[in-house]
Symmetry: C2
Subunit: 388 residues, 2 copies
């Protein structure tokens, strides 16, 4: 499937009669619309000129300070100079590629992984080195053969990975940060879903674990962290951030200046207002309750409706799970027939390197409501029964 | 001056006691703040979910249709498929570079020209070929020696160019589009200031003139046009557009998807609302009256306060003029002393290729009020008198 074909698919799924497990959309009915309206009203009333004027490329100082404070720990001092505000996490990935990667550089990625990270970096002429994952995330024990190829970076989504929904275990996290330092390989930690945890305790960020080593040997950070307000507040605002050593931030700022001058001032001011009025903190439990229920509904429906031999991941959070179908079913062909019954998903092959994942499908459980989830999975199960 | 030094300078100019002719800022006191507040209120009230959700990479259909209609002529049919919404015109330039330029490609640019176009394209490893300008804009008669080098593109800001404020004459426009077609060189028309005209009639867009030839010989367009809502509505919304042949738009969309997924949905919905409620049309005469007065004040103050032998451009619109100082005065050294007297500008060398423009300064006349313009130019004149 071409990127453009996938985009056309996602447009199709916007039809109201379609039950879509395809996109990576949050549930629009849970957006804090009224609070955003009040926030827009407040910032335009109080400082309209500023909220509509050109702004600094690195982002609003107040917002950078909030992010710095949120990530600071006893072992990890994050200051404003370590933070750049970006136009969504996707821009963070794009700028990181421009600043840190050159033609021929190796980048270790999970297989499967977040598609748009590959799209952002592929034009740079980098080599992707694939490492498998399992229920505990990236197989750190299989990195050795890749590390001898002297890659530049490793890219990972450690929490509720897209497309698998799996989370890197605490034990593997410690080994990963140490191993990458040993081999002088930088670590890109992409964490869009971290706040959306429906069970269990959160393992520490790779950024924190790396800082623990840095404190012992007096070195700098080896991690560039990418975050976003898209999942907890609203993606349509397009506000994310990158945390990095200040010399890297300075380079990111120069690249961003050429890319789009700065992120929407109005969006940044609105986000600041939502942080100050506690909307961000209040959204988290609300989203976790709703999405956790949807995850449970989907897992139960899969159990009920999918054929013996089908397997799926059981994410502790996030927005996705990955199903593996038995008997070599082609998920691409299945999709064509599913669309006729008004159900959509993304074939898992889209997220795999080397043409793998033919019999896998990524299912999003954050966008459709509980009843739609039951009905959509029922229809897919019916289709699979007919296929067998 | 490093880019970072220039950015630091522009931060300095944000101090309230500073009279700044440095940045390219519109006047914040003229922003339609109350109308933006009402627009935000209306779109969040009416379709909050949509305005805060992920959107299509190519931009809001309604907004693309408005842009297509605005640029359609009897000879020039612009449809939705010819338009991509971008996160400010700067992103348009960045994406154009990614899609149309490769290492080693030649790009003809005016000397001096808009700095950030160079910043966006320089990392691609392109060769810039400089052509002079005069009071009638780019010297089309001097292009021959550059065209034999088989460049890929020519980039121009035909109206009220940044930094010179000059406008390409109607006669030269016709010759330029024909010449570029003849040599198979693509044309990038960057027109952020076109609506801000304070006197005289507007010559046709290069996009239109090129379409006139295309209609005769049945060929496609040779022009990619970049526009923005930043100057008429507000730059803090970060909404611009690119008009191009649909196959080029499709490539721009793919590049944009990797760059930032899409432009802020909220900003796009607000812009749509401001278009529908006539705010865009009402802002133009209002801004032209105010900025036209400021331009006149600056021209009069220069006449009064600047030494014999100094020369400057007389822009018919836009936001900038360029001063050339007599006697080889170093504008960079002048700036250091000007800052001590709380006046800022950008040394013209920043906009020149090949280290030219040492004795030139770019003055912005849209941001400071009329009294500030009088006082700021008086102080600069005083400084110049002391220097002689």
């Amino acid at each position: 499937m071409q990127r453009s074909a996938l985009r056309e698919l996602l447009k199709l799924t916007a039809r109201p009669e379609m039950i879509s497990f395809a996109g990576g959309l949050p549930a629009a009915e849970l957006f804090p619309v009224e609070q955003v309206r009040q926030a827009a009203d407040a910032v335009l009333g109080r400082k309209g000129g500023q909220a509509l004027q050109y702004g600094e490329t690195e982002g609003l100082g107040e917002l950078r300070d909030w992010i710095a404070a949120k990530f600071s720990r006893p072992n990890l001092s994050v200051s404003r100079s370590n933070v750049i505000v970006v136009s969504g996490a996707q821009q963070g990935l794009d700028l990181i590629g421009r600043v840190l990667l050159s033609e021929g550089d190796g980048v270790i990625v999970e297989n499967p992984t977040y598609l748009a990270a590959l799209s952002a970096w592929r034009p740079l002429g980098v080599r992707f080195l694939a490492v498998r994952g399992d229920a505990d995330g990236l197989r750190v024990d299989e990195l050795d053969t890749l590390l001898v190829q002297r890659p530049k970076l490793l890219y990972t989504v450690p929490n509720f990975q897209n497309p698998q929904g799996t989370t890197l275990s605490a034990e593997r996290r410690g080994r990963l940060v140490a191993l990458l330092r040993e081999h002088d390989v930088g670590l890109i930690e992409d964490n869009p879903y971290g706040e959306l945890r429906y069970e269990g305790a959160a393992p520490p960020n790779l950024l924190d674990l790396d800082a623990g080593i840095a404190v012992q040997d007096g070195s700098g950070s080896n991690v560039v962290y990418v975050g976003t307000f898209s999942k907890v507040l609203a993606p349509g605002l397009r506000v994310g951030w990158v945390i990095a050593p200040s010399d890297v931030v300075e380079k990111l700022v120069q690249a961003k200046q050429a890319a789009d001058l700065h992120t929407s001032s109005l969006s940044q001011h609105i986000v600041c207002e939502l942080l100050k009025t506690g909307v961000f903190e209040r959204q988290i439990p609300l989203l976790c309750a709703a999405y956790g229920e949807r995850r449970d509904r989907m897992l139960a429906a899969l159990e009920r409706c999918f054929p013996t031999g089908a397997a799926w991941t059981r994410p502790a959070g996030g927005m996705f799970l990955l199903v593996t179908l038995p008997g070599g079913v082609d998920a691409g062909a299945l999709l064509e027939r599913a669309l006729l019954r008004q159900v959509a998903f993304v074939p898992g092959r889209e997220f795999h390197l080397d043409g793998q994942g033919r019999s896998t499908l990524r299912l999003n459980f954050s966008n459709a409501g509980p009843e739609q989830i039951d009905e959509g999975i029922r229809r897919l199960g019916e289709l699979l029964d007919e296929t067998q």
